[in-house]
Symmetry: C2
Subunit: 135 residues, 2 copies
């Protein structure tokens, strides 16, 4: 099982499994801690190299919503996100895709538009109902 000339190493498989097995849009550091439980001597450099390679080959998504740590999404199919400004959690949104926006923007701007990214910001349900939110 490989992907376009890339080898499916134990490290790469485990990283992909961990990322596919969560909906929390984790950071490289969080993934590192998780994978370490299965491959104790894995290095953080390997985590980064594989996350970048997986993102380049379209198997995962890279999310840059802040200027600090990058987050990763095991679901590579197009969808929108919600970012809670209180706890920082990132949620998937079931909002339907809006491909007509690409057409409109293309006509207005004259640029060739391939895709768009849409992120919503606010306070998540969890933080709204709890005084001291976890995480």
């Amino acid at each position: 099982m490989s992907f376009k000339g890339h080898r499916m190493t134990n490290q790469r498989r485990t990283i992909l499994e961990v990322l596919k097995g969560t909906t929390s849009h984790p950071t490289a550091d969080w993934i590192y801690d998780e994978v370490k439980q299965k491959i104790p001597n894995i290095s953080l450099g390997t985590i980064y190299r594989n996350l970048n390679l997986l993102a380049e080959s379209g198997q995962i998504l890279e999310l840059n919503y802040t200027n600090t740590q990058t987050r990763f999404d095991g679901n590579p199919s197009p969808h929108y996100h919600f970012i809670c400004q209180e706890c920082g959690r990132v949620y998937d949104l079931a909002l339907e895709l809006q491909p007509q926006l690409d057409m409109e923007a293309e006509q207005i701007s004259g640029h060739r538009i391939d895709f768009h990214r849409l992120e919503f910001y606010g306070i998540c349900q969890e933080c709204l109902t709890h005084d001291s939110p976890p995480n």
Copy 2:
């Protein structure tokens, strides 16, 4: 001329002028080089401190589209952007705002949504018509 207890120093005024005087969504480094022409001994730390302060007080926008350098926008009113994947330039888009998306996303998710960010990606008109694009 101040802003909520903040002092309007020569450095801060010049940084704001430079940023308001361009539509190129520059990086802190570019702003540094520009401001240095007027205040030769200004430090990069001052650039960052002021950009952060101006962003926090809503006078400018902070754009995090990549995991490398942050870009800044002298126009703080809500609008959408287009990022060219060939030359990296960031353009403003005249596309009308889509506030109904906030309503829809709020109903679907149950989170309180305050605003959204929408960015389009593709190849800009400049790069489409020129073989070797500048910048």
